[in-house]
């Protein structure tokens, strides 16, 4: 029976029941939904490729569900992420947060299986509107404002997508969501829409702005879906679009400079997330089978280890009350399990052999070298060393180790530890046995990650990079964590534009005041003069009673002029 439901529907429809349930029943129910979804997907995968629920609207053939190898990779990992996030958020009392989170993840899954651009647009917006509640749930002024900025940008992406889709339909006569390419205005608009959600350079800042303002559990949800949905959409619509290689390389490199100096560790992870998306975008740009496999594999392992890292920093935030590097130190003594899981996540994102990043990122790296993108390859190598610095060392060090500040708290609750533990186990299992992951990728994989060359060169890169940090630390050159804000491109719309707006209002106000003052003054004088000569008892009124009429005409004129001005 459940095979006939569109993927994602189980979470979206199931979310509606959450407020009606209580206690353990609700917990069991919420944990069961993603597992049910996963089972459904597995059942559907047998008959893939497959299209379902087609219907016509306004003469266009819509395909709400298309299951193929590319969408299945995202479907599987989205359901896994939903399960881990539910488990991590199990103790959250407010049902509204659960409803928003489940509808959000269900929307992302439904979007990944959309066979046409209209369906894609609908679920694209569903993810935008539901996810903002995870930010607003922090219930602070900061989170409210960050949420509004986030929502405006996400909805703008949706509007661009719809506009692009309509232009494209007009040009090609089809709403099919397959390869799109940059030809034509429609393709360019859709590319921009995807680019906003994928956090392309200059379009990226909503990510670092909003994610760290969400709740402890909300950020874990957010980290999995929105940006990876955009990666999926790019992989389907723009594979082999060369400009993506350079966009991706820029994405790999520039966020890591910010990650090094950022104090809020959840914001460090948001910059790091941006950098990881860069590797995936490069893979899409190269567009060969190996490269696209790399993008899919990296999205899969990335969702799990990035979720794990956000969970670990969330656990600190919940137990200690802050996730700022400048305030933390010695927390591993109180939270040894969280610290251990965090290190596993850090090793995975750094791509240490035996951890998941090692078997996925190397597909993209190899594809870039195979296709002679030497500079891009070197940028990614640099970025890989950078990942070791900010995610491999900085996150565990400033989060859990660092000089003891006497912080003594309780270890994270059991459900959070379980979520982190399962995520950590997945990171290791994928790292040691990559075959099952390779087998679900869109194309056959002949790649072997565990060669002497790959293992040793990678270990050299990573361990020497760690040594680099250690040497800087040893000689006290390493920059300390400081309470600060680092301005990024968001300064344009959070400072410059509002300042310019306020200034123009003030300047406009002054101009208005003096202009309207001059006009009313002139009218006043005209009126007085008129009154003096034409008013009752005035010289000109003596013989002409029409003087009254003249005065009233003047008053009317004044009224009209004022009415026009105001």
């Amino acid at each position: 029976m459940i095979e006939f439901l569109p993927p994602g529907a189980i979470l979206i429809l199931g979310a509606a029941l959450v407020p009606l349930l209580k206690g353990r029943v609700r917990q069991a129910y919420m944990l069961a939904l993603p597992l049910l979804g996963l089972a459904q997907l597995y059942a559907l995968s047998g008959s893939a490729p497959l299209e379902m629920l087609q219907f016509s609207m306004f003469g266009y053939e819509l395909t709400p569900v298309r299951v193929d190898k590319l969408s299945l990779v995202w479907g599987y990992v989205f359901y896994i992420a939903a399960f881990l996030s539910v488990l991590y958020a199990l103790k959250v009392e407010r049902p509204g947060e659960h409803v928003a989170a489940m509808a959000y993840s269900g929307g992302a899954i439904a979007a990944a299986f959309a066979g046409d651009l209209i369906t894609l647009f609908v679920f694209w917006e569903v993810t935008a509107i539901t996810s903002v509640f995870l930010i607003w749930s922090s219930r602070t002024e900061r989170s409210y404002r960050a949420g509004v900025r986030y929502l405006v940008i996400q909805v703008a992406s949706g509007v661009l997508l719809l506009a692009g889709a309509l232009v494209r339909v007009h040009q090609t006569g089809s709403v099919d969501f397959g390869f799109i390419g940059l030809e034509g205005a429609g393709g360019t608009l859709i590319f921009l829409a995807f680019g906003i959600k994928a956090a392309f350079p200059f379009l990226h800042n909503w990510l670092q702005d909003a994610y760290p303002e969400a709740t402890v559990t909300g950020t874990v949800w957010l980290s999995a879906f929105t940006t990876k949905l955009a990666i999926y959409a790019l992989a389907r619509g723009f594979a082999g679009t060369e400009i993506l290689i350079y966009i991706g390389a820029a994405m790999c490199a520039f966020p890591i400079f910010y990650a090094v100096i950022e104090n809020d560790l959840r914001r460090v992870l948001a910059y790091s997330l941006n950098n990881q998306l860069g590797f995936m975008v490069v893979g899409i740009g190269i567009g060969t089978e190996l490269a696209l496999n790399g993008t899919a594999a990296h999205a899969f392992s990335h969702i799990i280890y990035k979720g794990l890292l956000f969970m670990a920093m969330g656990a600190i935030l919940q137990q200690v009350g802050t996730a700022k590097g400048s305030e933390l130190g010695g927390v591993y003594k109180s939270m040894p399990w969280s610290a251990t899981f965090c290190i596993i996540g850090a090793a995975s994102i750094s791509a240490f052999p035996l951890f998941s990043g090692f078997v996925s990122k190397s597909l993209v790296m190899t594809a870039s070298a195979d296709n002679h993108y030497t500079l891009v390859y070197l940028v990614m190598l640099f970025a890989s060393a950078g990942v070791v610095e900010h995610a491999g060392v900085k996150i565990p060090y400033f989060g859990f180790f660092g000089p003891d500040r006497g912080i003594r708290v309780k270890e994270a609750p059991l459900n959070m530890l379980l979520a982190m533990g399962i995520a950590a186990a997945l990171c290791i299992v994928i790292g040691i046995f990559p075959r099952p992951l390779y087998d679900i990728l869109p194309f056959p994989v002949e790649y072997e990650p565990y060669t002497a060359t790959h293992v040793i060169t990678q270990l050299q890169l990573l361990v020497w990079a760690i040594l680099g940090v250690a040497v800087l630390k040893w000689y006290h050159i390493y920059p300390p964590e400081l309470r600060s804000v680092n301005v990024d491109i968001d300064i344009v719309y959070r400072k410059w534009l509002p300042t310019a707006w306020a200034y123009s209002l003030r300047a406009g106000g002054a101009v208005w005041n003096s202009a309207s003052g001059a006009v009313t003054g002139w009218l006043q004088r005209t009126y007085e003069t008129t009154y003096r000569y034409h008013g009752p008892e005035a010289p000109l009124a003596r013989t002409w009673p029409s003087g009254y009429m003249a005065m009233w005409t003047a008053i009317l004129l004044l009224a009209v002029l004022l009415a026009l001005y105001i």
């Binding site: 950078g386 040793i456 400072k495």
Partner: protein, 81 residues
């Protein structure tokens, strides 16, 4: 805090051990390049210890550059408030 458990990393001597251990690990890893044939894409990657050297320089360069970036982008914590 006096009767609290003493952790291995609380002893500065052990931190020193970690630091020097890291040096040893790095040198051993670089030396491994002498004992197998590297299958790499580019000639420059065949240099002994190339990846180690690259990783070290990239990481130190990144941190120093970011330190410089702070001069341009760092503001007070309440800058946007």
């Amino acid at each position: 805090m006096d009767n609290e458990k003493k952790y291995w990393l609380d002893d500065p001597a052990n931190v020193r051990k970690v630091y020097y251990g890291l040096w040893v690990a790095c040198i051993v890893l670089a030396a491994l390049d002498l004992f197998y044939h590297k299958h790499v894409h580019y000639d420059f990657e065949e240099l002994i210890g190339f990846f180690g050297f690259f990783g070290f320089v990239a990481c130190v360069g990144l941190v120093l550059a970011s330190k410089g970036l702070r001069r341009i982008v760092m503001r007070d914590e309440d800058f946007y408030d």
